[in-house]
Subunit: 251 residues, 2 copies
């Protein structure tokens, strides 16, 4: 099953690439808003909550704040977003809403693509989510991961290079034997700099109907596919050739 040479593990950015965070969070927000008869735009709330995601990790990546799990950052960011929207929620309701990140829906092609890839590669997330969150999300959405190494285990957030290289080291693989698949060009840029192979799929509605970022591959990624099923077919048709191109060796 583990082929000599080339890529042995195919790991995935998760939020946006494998699961649809915006629809999942908006649905959870709508449910709570309806129960309280509060007028709030669920998608706008989801966007505002998610907008605090990158800024909240930055002090940790820069070494100005000790490592904090993403579920805890999500909780802090939810409190700030509730305040921004002038919305009071009881602590247990806020906690329940925070757990919506564990119940995000998979994109329609995700499970099929992972099942294809799982026949030939070790599959898992390479996400900023923590292991507990990612394991529960997988259980809920039926994602058939072989292994779940959250950012609480590497103690670093992407796109810091340690997030990629430490994950490969835990799998006892050189970075070049690991492929990151993502719907985000910036994540792949960092993964390639860390020595990983790269795969791109577009998720043109991750940010809603008006999305104008990451609609296309912006570099010569090792594999470019239309979705995870297509990626699974490409990587299982001729797996020996993946990861052997000069472009996916460490630079």
């Amino acid at each position: 099953m583990f082929r000599a040479g080339g890529v042995q593990a195919v790991l995935f950015d998760t939020f946006g690439t494998v699961v649809d965070w915006r629809s999942g969070i908006a649905a959870a927000v709508e449910e709570v808003a309806d129960a309280h008869a509060v007028a709030v735009d669920p998608a706008a709330f989801a966007d505002a909550w998610r907008a605090r995601y990158q800024p909240s990790m930055e002090p940790i990546r820069a070494g100005r704040r000790p490592f904090v799990r993403l579920s805890d950052l999500h909780r802090e960011n939810l409190a700030a977003t509730l305040e921004e929207f002038g919305w009071n929620l009881a602590p247990d309701e806020a906690e329940q809403l925070n757990q919506a990140w564990q119940r995000l829906p998979a994109w329609p092609d995700s499970v099929e693509g992972l099942l294809l890839l799982k026949q030939h590669y070790l599959v898992g997330p390479l996400s900023n989510g923590d292991t507990a969150l990612l394991a529960r999300m997988a259980k809920h959405a039926g994602l058939p991961w072989d292994v779940v190494i959250g950012a609480d285990i590497t103690r670093q957030y992407k796109p810091h290079p340690d997030a990629y290289t430490r994950t490969a080291a835990i799998l006892d693989l050189p970075p070049s034997a690991v492929m990151l698949v993502a719907a985000h060009n910036h994540d792949l840029t960092a993964a390639r700099q860390a020595g990983l192979a790269t795969g791109f799929i577009p998720r043109p509605t991750e940010h809603g109907p008006g999305q104008n970022t990451d609609l296309n591959a912006e570099a010569d990624w090792d594999v470019v596919a239309t979705d995870l099923t297509d990626l699974g077919r490409q990587l299982t048709t001729d797996p020996e050739e993946i990861g052997t191109k000069p472009s996916c060796r460490p630079t």
Copy 2:
């Protein structure tokens, strides 16, 4: 899927409980011995190699040696066992033999039991193996883990209490919401002391035909079953009651 109260994750001792290390290692030893026309008793070699397992972890548990992954301890122990048997192997052949720990066969009931439990609980190993070894073993033997947290992640070996409590913490669960299943009474004693729920199954031929240890449950473990299929049936028939007995609360 994750039930409020009671046990939410069922984790497993792996070597001996889920997979048959002695048969697997003896078969790998026999293959190498046959290739070299060397006369060696494969089961005796497997027993001698495994006999170095607990002593090699002891300096690490006692804090006298920095943490070393089990695959590396296995490699050191193999070198000592080869010397004990007066057997020279080329480094690449020794390395190949060391990887036999990644290809151990599951006991006949293991996969069926895990699939039953997976319907209601988060399932994973709680083993002294490292994540890379355990993930490859699962791939080879078809063990359907939800999550794989090796000892290289907790940085401590069972039966040190940190091995159990750190695993529960990574899953964001209190120890009482985690059950350890093992064929070894001493492992369950340590797990109970760390606050975990406990499940026992016997593996009466783990050490070969003359085994006289761990043939029976030696304490009032929360669940006692004949094998993993039986354990799966018991824990999925009335899951609400598991883990709510006073005996499996932290003492």
